[in-house]
Amino acid sequence: MPKKSFALASLSVLVLGTLSACGGGSDDASSDGDCVVKIGGIFSQTGAASAFGSDGERAIDLAIQDANEEGFEVDGKSCTIEYKATDLASDPNNAASLAQELITGFEAKFIFGPDLAAAVPPAATAVQRAGDVMQFSVSTGMDAYAGKDEPFFRLAPTDVKMVNEGYIPAVAEQLPDVTSIAMLMTDDDTGKALAEGYTAAFEEAGVEVTQTEYYAATTTNFAPIVQRIDDSAQGVFIGYNNDSAAAGIMDAAAEAGLPPVFITRGISAQPGVDRSDDLQDYTWLVLGADPLYPANDEQQAFVDKFSDAFSIPDGRMTYFPFVHYDYVGMLIQAMQEAGTTTDVDAISDALRGSSYEGVVPLSFDDEGLNTSPMGLGILRDGQGEVITFGGE
């Protein structure tokens, strides 16, 4: 074979391999019922956010498999769900085209995702233009759309309710000796917008935020940044990044001799669990439930089932399945109550003010804002527990 041809052939193999590894393909369920409900998913299955994104996508996939296996009827018709998953690849720039592909190409009526705050607006714009599509996202970006009489639902309470009025007061109550903290936030719109509210919430709860440091979201070298933290800080708040950044900050803080007290938001239990021997206190916000600290046998059974289904090693499942899996069941319940699988407005009305008892309890208020209970995860002296709050 000529060398140039061989090189081109090798390149083609690589490109094809890359495309398949990126998971851009679809995952279509069977469609042999009287009615077919089309659900699309936009999650980061590759890239930096894939630990959470993959689990969110898998949760929707598993919930749909379970619903199809069990079967359900809407308005006397036996229905099945067809599902198509797309890969956001941890890049918000992909959101608009993926949403468009799901809406016009796949004809999805319901979209779960995206899982990144900055990716929600472009996807939501595509949904708004379509006019008859519903969107669910767990991300903070959904706060700008949910509760406004449109078919947008956030899979968690608003950040103000969940963090400012829920998590932060709960943290202050659990850590009464911590009266001053330093705040580390990513230098982007989300980080800056939230820092102000978080600071006020901490102040109200009796905790002074002595300094707020913004850092580039792509930073991996945290040692010089952590050096900036004043010795008077009794703990560090790590907001809005990923587990890797949190782990890097915690290691750098330990090296710098800062008190091993970390309050996190948007981070899982894992960085704390991996360092539990060296920590005094580590808290994280639990959405739904925490796979490392399930509240009951049903949640434990779900962790086992999910881990088995996707061959996830022990302790590596994120909390994302808990804030995605049951919403498929809740959507089916709303379709049944509305008596339609296509009238998005009617289904939205049915979702508003409804509740659902799944692996975790879910609820929306009359405006469509999420009122499901959340939890404060806390690791103290190597022991972890989840304290539930909210849910009114």
Partner: protein, 287 residues
């Protein structure tokens, strides 16, 4: 004063890592004229090979094993891919980009994006004035300094180094003396793979790593290679020191959110003043 010393040491440590990555890029470019976008993946390979092997056979045995893996994979990607793109910049670029996407996703599938820590040297070293620096970071500073010195001497004093420099300077003239460009290209890729893998092992010993670690160091590797002058090891060292220290000082004393602004501003200023970089040995042909 002690705080400044600590900041400088942190900057020097980071500079050492940038040097190792940048050296690999500049050596492969100098010899083959291939801008290897997949080079950062050898950083990931080094880090994860060390983490994996150290849990199985202990750290001492894991280091040579991790290097062996990096060398084997370096040889593999060169012999199965890059060797056929020598002389065609576009093909080389496309192949390296494809390889980057492919390997990054393979690594994510294999290791997930959960952060992992490599083996560390416990304890801290007290600096004058009371500040402490982790021994792991001191070991990284010593390791990178030693390796950069060895690499510099090897490039000047050994037959392989001579071959690399001769082929980089003039491939045709070198070939008339019996130096096969393809064979020398293999040496370049193996040296680059080792340097990047050592960088990966060093990174894993001071901070948590994910499969994305290679890409984040690759970008800085390119910056130091460009500032230094593509093809110039001395330039890479100078540029890495400049960048590492500027990064540390600005993060510590000015504004950590603006670090990349300072870094890229530095690159722009250097390239405006010296379009061929700080130490370019010759005008390199582009495209």
């Amino acid at each position: 004063m002690s705080e400044l010393l600590l900041t400088l040491l942190l900057g020097i440590m980071q500079a050492g890592l940038y040097t190792l990555v940048g050296l690999g890029l500049t050596i492969t470019f100098g010899v083959t004229h291939i801008l290897n976008f997949a080079h950062g993946e050898f950083v990931t390979i080094g880090a994860f090979a060390l983490i994996g092997f150290s849990t199985m056979v202990g750290t001492a045995a894991a280091i040579p094993l991790a290097l062996l893996v990096a060398v084997a994979l370096g040889a593999l990607v060169y012999l199965l891919g890059f060797v056929f793109t020598i002389g065609n910049h576009l093909q080389g670029l496309a192949f390296s980009l494809g390889l980057l996407l492919f390997t990054e996703n393979i690594f994510l599938e294999l290791f997930s994006s959960i952060p992992r820590n490599g083996p560390r040297v416990d304890g801290t070293l007290a600096l004058l004035g009371g500040e402490q620096i982790a021994w792991s970071r001191v070991v990284v500073i010593i390791t990178t300094a030693a390796l950069v010195t060895v690499a510099a001497i090897a490039l000047k004093r050994t037959w392989v180094g001579l071959a690399l420099r001769a082929t980089g300077d003039d491939r045709f003239a070198a070939s008339t003396l019996g130096l096969s460009a393809k064979r020398v290209g293999l040496y370049a890729f193996l040296v680059a793979a080792v340097l990047a893998a050592v960088a990966g092992m060093c990174i894993a010993s001071v901070s948590p790593v994910t499969p994305a670690i290679g890409v984040s160091y690759l970008l800085t590797g390119f910056v130091v290679a460009i500032i230094g002058g593509l093809g110039s090891p001395e330039g890479v060292l100078m540029a890495a020191l400049l960048l590492g220290i500027v990064e540390a000082l600005t993060s510590r004393y000015i504004d950590p959110s603006m670090t990349s602004v300072y870094t890229y501003s530095l690159m722009v200023v250097v390239l405006l003043a010296l379009p061929q970089g700080l130490f370019n040995r010759k005008v390199v042909r582009a495209g």
